[in-house]
């Protein structure tokens, strides 16, 4: 079986692994690195659950081969914050009930983080545009928008 050796940095840690070219980045993260916080919902690019950060911008890990990430800097939900030290976006989703089953949440959070990096004070329309590619079946989205607005406020208050 033909394999390619790739080097990636995930959540600040360097990994070198041999992978089949067809291995999806989602499977690489979840199975090879056991970072199961990134979820797989549809595997054909519709739901956004598998969204991770790749070199600073979001990517659908089910529509990315792991070999394409060779040399990349990847961030997943596991790198965002911990239960004791949540990222403001995580904190805001908790406070504003931005999740129910939690399955879309990691993808939603990564997308929100990317938005807030580029736009510290997004309008409701900005938020709706940005997360329109992330399906949530539980919340009806309204509290997700409120969560992201609240996160923006927390991050602005925190200052750079």
């Amino acid at each position: 079986m033909e394999r390619e050796t790739i080097s990636v940095t995930v959540n600040g840690r360097a990994y070198e692994r041999a992978v089949e070219p067809r291995r999806l980045l989602s499977d690489f993260l979840r199975e090879d690195l056991r970072l199961t916080g990134t979820h797989v919902g549809c595997e054909h690019g519709v739901c956004g659950s598998c969204t991770v950060m790749m070199d600073g911008v979001t990517a659908r890990s089910c529509l990315t081969f792991a070999v394409m990430a060779d040399g990349a800097d990847i961030e997943t939900i596991e790198g965002l914050g911990t239960v004791d030290a949540m990222h403001p976006v995580q904190q805001a989703f908790w406070e504003k009930h931005g999740l129910q089953c939690g399955f879309c949440t990691p993808g939603m959070l990564m997308t929100a983080v990317e938005l807030l990096k580029a736009n510290p004070d997004p309008s409701v329309d900005d938020i709706r545009d940005t997360i329109s590619g992330n399906l949530c079946r539980c919340t009806g989205y309204q509290t997700i928008v409120e969560s992201i607005q609240h996160a923006a406020k927390l991050m602005r208050e925190d200052g750079p």
Binding site: R22, E43, H44, G48, R60, T64, F65
Partner: protein, 285 residues
């Protein structure tokens, strides 16, 4: 839902990619992968070999060229969408991007990949035809140019030949005064049920040049000449707009699928033609 095996080649330069294409007749180019990988996951396609062009550093540009724009094939959708140069020189494309896919897909997906994929309900092909774009194709044997209008031949089928790679998309300086894009999809960001991209030029109050281009209603994006003929040479008033809309609806022979039936697509084409022509005419000032 996992892709079948394939050989993986990574190109570091355009020459690299062209040589790989020449050496591997069974290869396909992997750009952003946002359509290709989804189809591979579903095993709807099983390419034997992929040539990854994502590392080629110098084909993601968006540059001035004369009074037009040259876009490298690997320019990501979001870069094109947010480019001030595109907004200034090809605002029709900027407008179209409001309807194209979703943010994260646009981060990775490329304009060149989209055009080569030639999905029959894709938006960008209609825009390229409407603005008279030229596509540059290269192979180890050299390069050639194909007008966007001649590039799209069928469902997932283009004029790109074996061994060729789309390298650049050239959009001429503003050839039209008025432009408008409109789309109907069931959900925002989905592939279109129907698209119309319209460009107009007026002279002395009469329509001198008109392009009315449809997508989603045939095997590929195409001009609706009867609709254009209904406009050319006349002032654009409500009666002309209605005539163009009727002509547009008559010019398409759409299919039915789970998203919409043929009758709907025809109605949609009429409505979108009316709306885009009207808005394009307003923009002509």
């Amino acid at each position: 839902m996992k892709p079948a095996r394939f050989r993986y080649l990574r190109a570091e330069s355009v020459d690299d990619a062209l040589q790989a294409l020449a050496d591997n007749p069974d290869a396909q180019i992997l750009a952003g992968g946002q359509s290709l990988i989804a189809m591979m996951n579903l095993r709807l396609v099983k390419p034997a070999c992929l040539i990854d062009i994502n590392r080629i550093w110098n084909i993601g540009y968006i540059d001035e060229e004369g009074d037009g724009v040259a876009i490298g094939t690997l320019a990501r959708h979001n870069d094109v969408k947010h480019s001030p140069l595109i907004r200034e020189r090809c605002p029709l494309l900027t407008e179209a991007y409001e309807s194209i896919a979703h943010h994260t897909v646009r981060n990775r997906g490329t304009l060149g990949g989209n055009l080569c994929h030639a999905d029959p309900s894709s938006e960008a092909p209609a825009v390229m035809i409407a603005v008279g774009a030229t596509l540059e194709l290269m192979s180890v044997h050299g390069k050639r140019e194909v007008g966007a209008e001649d590039f799209f031949l069928g469902t997932y089928e283009t004029a790109r030949r074996q061994g060729e790679m789309l390298t650049e998309i050239r959009i001429p300086g503003r050839g039209a005064d008025g432009w408008a894009f409109a789309e109907i999809s069931n959900r925002h960001g989905d592939f279109a049920i129907a698209v119309i991209a319209t460009t107009l030029r007026l002279a002395n109050g009469r329509c001198e040049v008109a392009r009315v281009v449809a997508s989603g209603v045939g095997e590929h994006a195409a001009r609706l000449k009867p609709a254009e003929d209904a406009l050319i040479g006349r002032p654009i008033d409500d009666a002309r707009i209605d005539a163009a809309a009727a002509a547009a609806a008559g010019a398409v022979d759409p299919h039915s699928d789970s998203h919409a039936d043929a009758a709907y697509r025809r109605d949609a084409i009429a409505a979108l033609t009316r709306r885009t022509v009207s808005r394009a005419a307003e923009r002509c000032g």
